[in-house]
Amino acid sequence: MTDRRPGTAGDPQIVFDGVGVTYPNGYRGLSDISLTIPAGQMVGVVGLSGAGKSTFVRTINGLVTATEGSLTVNGRDVTTARGKQLRAVRSDIGMVFQGFNLTGRTTVLNNVLMGRLYSAPWWRTLLGAWKSDDVELAMDALTRVEIVQKAYTRASELSGGQQQRVGIARALAQQPSIILADEPVASLDPPTSHVVMEHLRRINGELGVTVITNLHFLDLARKYSDRLLGLRGGHVVFDGTGADADETVFESIYGRSLTGEDVLDATPNLETS
């Protein structure tokens, strides 16, 4: 297997070229997105609710199909991929969800092993007869997010922050070159949010995995990303670093000035973060 890991940091990895998404009901979710995300970057995506953040990240692994333009990930065209090809693209992209999306009734380890579904033969997945290599990978992933002690616990018995770390471990078990995180901390309290974001940053730093995170809070996004994308009405209205994102940029993204509700650590002052 070739590109399980990112190539040289900085190589173009995700290339949007005129990408647009029109939902089946006719709603335009994304319009005319053209940008390149290099391997190893930590990207934060911000915007109002309904701006198209989820649509943006879900287009990358084909959970939402781009209806216009072309989108390539690691050199493979996602927009036209179907069936096995699409699954190959997805296996290279881990995903972390706002609601964790764990199966509460089964063990943490089983949840993380879901990350191996693409590479394991069908009869192994059916019987749950995982290869010891796969179990090893899952354990490593759990160790990395410091929750390996809970490997045999039922997922529903964990706290929210712990569950989200399991969610990250599941993405890691895929040995992905990219991790997409759709509001990974939206259902967590502030200290736990920082723990989870720290884990994502460590994974980005130590493993060189590209991490794209949708975030509701601007201060979190600025703190935990190399690059900030601002979405509004399905368009990219800002593309730059956190330091560039001043009050006027904020207004262009949110259509109003900053308030306490837009930051996690309650002072509405961008400079403190």
Partner: protein, 290 residues
């Protein structure tokens, strides 16, 4: 801002009583139907006046005392009924399990789902005894064909409970499995099944309880077991044998119900507990089933 209107002094005017015309019309219709049924039905209600004394008369014949000597015969007839129910349930489970996947909205497209659901609906609508009569008229009367009938009779309900529990799982884990690049099979196995498994197993047990009751019925039309012994003995008015049969049926059924309820409780909640009425959680009984 509107200024509050001054409250007029004097008699309070109650709001008009809301119109309940439809509700009343509905109740009137129900009442009329019931009255019509009482009036039309070919029953001589005066017979009821000696029903209670004659019921007591027969109860005395049955239970004072029951034919204890027949206990072991009654017991082995009941055991045969239970065996029929067990085999029938296993057959029903084997056939209905794949069908319930093929009928679930989150597994297959409409054109697969609809025909499968239609078949399940038809199997559910025909009473088991009728299915048994059909099968028995083709295959002859044995305990084995009785079990077959029970199996086919249970496909409809088992299939429905199955697809309903599959459809009620949360979509998140399914999406997560899809996002890892898992195949359709993998998504079902690791996204859907772990969520639905406890309910589905509990339904299997519950269906076995129902089949135990139905198997007693099958005997009445000739499939052997407790029902056969019962119809033979009512025919010849051996009331004290009927008495012991009823005792054995009730005791065995209640024991099986209790064991099964405890196991179902354990499956759903992960705890062992004796199950009374109140302790039984709603989830344990499929919607609209007694």
């Amino acid at each position: 801002m509107t200024t509050p209107t001054a409250i007029p002094a004097g008699k309070a005017v109650p709001p008009p009583r809301p119109s309940r015309l439809w509700v009343r019309a509905g109740w009137t219709a129900v009442l009329l139907v019931v009255l019509a049924a009482f009036w039309r039905v070919n029953i001589d209600w005066s017979q009821l006046s000696d029903f209670v004394p004659s019921l007591f008369h027969y109860l005395r014949l049955m239970f004072c005392p029951p034919a204890w000597s027949q206990t072991s015969a009654a017991f082995s007839a009941t055991i045969l009924s239970v065996q029929m129910a067990w085999i029938g349930s296993i057959l029903g489970i084997l056939i209905s399990f794949p069908l319930s996947f093929l009928a679930a909205r989150n597994v297959v497209p409409v054109w697969v789902r609809l025909p499968v659901r239609l078949v399940l609906a038809i199997l559910r609508a025909v009473p088991e005894v009728v299915i048994a009569i059909l099968i028995l008229s083709v295959t002859g009367l044995t305990a084995w064909t009785g079990a077959l009938a029970l199996g086919i009779g249970s496909i409809g309900t088992l299939g429905k409970w199955g697809y309903e529990s599959f459809e009620s799982v949360s979509g998140g884990p399914l999406e997560a499995a899809r996002a890892t690049g898992g195949s359709r099979l993998a998504v079902i196995r690791w996204g859907l099944w772990p969520q639905a498994q406890p309910e589905v197993l509990a339904f299997w047990l519950y269906r076995f309880e129902i089949s135990v009751r139905s198997s007693a019925i099958l005997g009445l039309i000739g499939a052997g077991g407790i029902g056969k012994m019962l119809s033979d003995n009512t025919q010849y008015q051996n009331w004290n044998v009927v008495g012991i049969l009823l005792i054995v049926v009730v005791v065995v059924t209640m024991i099986i119900d209790q064991i099964s309820a405890v196991l179902r409780q354990r499956l759903i909640t992960g705890r062992w507990a004796l199950v009374g009425y109140g302790a039984r959680r709603k989830a344990l009984t499929p919607t609209g089933l007694a």
